[in-house]
Symmetry: C2
Subunit: 187 residues, 2 copies
Amino acid sequence: MDAKERLIEAAQDLLWDRGYTGTSPKAIQQQADAGQGSMYHHFAGKHELAHAAITRSARQLRAEAELAFGVEGAAMEKIGAYLTRQRDVLRGCRIGRLAADPDIIAAADLREPLVSTFRWLEGELASLIEDGQATGEFSAQLDPTTVAAAIVATVQGGYVLARAAADPEQFDHAISGLMTLLKGNAA
Amino acid sequence: MDAKERLIEAAQDLLWDRGYTGTSPKAIQQQADAGQGSMYHHFAGKHELAHAAITRSARQLRAEAELAFGVEGAAMEKIGAYLTRQRDVLRGCRIGRLAADPDIIAAADLREPLVSTFRWLEGELASLIEDGQATGEFSAQLDPTTVAAAIVATVQGGYVLARAAADPEQFDHAISGLMTLLKGNAA
DNA sequence: GTCTATACGGGGATAGAC
DNA sequence: GTCTATCCCCGTATAGAC
């Protein structure tokens, strides 16, 4: 693997664990086993490297979610597969995590992968809810868009609760509560 | 107001906006209009000052939530009052925000106010749900504990979505979806 | 492409004077 | 209690050699 590649992966890793503010060029170089000159040859600076890393993390996250949505079954099963998919809960969401970082929020290009990832996710979930309404699986009273937002928010918040408590089960509790609420809204 | 007080308030503010990693002693001193010597006279260092600030923020958050829970009405109205209370959405949650910070998570004493705040909040909400079940307002099928966790998670995640999109309405969507789900679980 | 040298301000704190 | 001086390493680059 060439240095450029290693730098991007190291940046992905560090951004996930420490955010943008907490990640220094030097730390990235060390983890990538690349020199100062190498990094600044391939990227204009921390900002540009972070952009490459975040963009790639967003693509990966989306691919993983697509995998969960691809299971066979009715709408609720697909949603359930997404909600209960394997996650490194205490590490948090590599995309949602960045929303806490003031420097990410302040830079439109760094924030963009966050917006589009969440917008896409909510769209997928909203479609599933509509499907479920068409087949009589969900109550027609539900507004697919806002319910989808609530689902995504519960996942993101589940990470927050789990990390605050240093206990992955807190994530599962939130998801479990959400699934009960969803199932109580059968047609 | 004395310097010590100003330092704590400045630290609360900066921690809210920039997190622990993103907040420097120098920045706190400047915002508090206090000198280096003053800060290190009153506090052993950044860590100790942050502890004072976080503890106080947690108390304030709790007081604000108590106010919302205090409205007259049935369980769903109290929950609704909490969910729709005035918030500076794009600024995020001053407590939940810290869960993204690796240095906070690594320091048990800094993390403690986060755990206890969320535990308390979930407890209050779980009680309300039980009340609602007793009066026939909510379905007996609901598990008060996990549903309470889902509610708190949705709020925390709502902040994440809103900040990612730089749009406060994303918070409202998530809350609105959650309230629909709750109301669909009437007894 | 990668290395080393150099730069300058900031992060986080200690020491001693007033 | 607060001020100023001082410390040392880190953050974030740029410059030029190889």
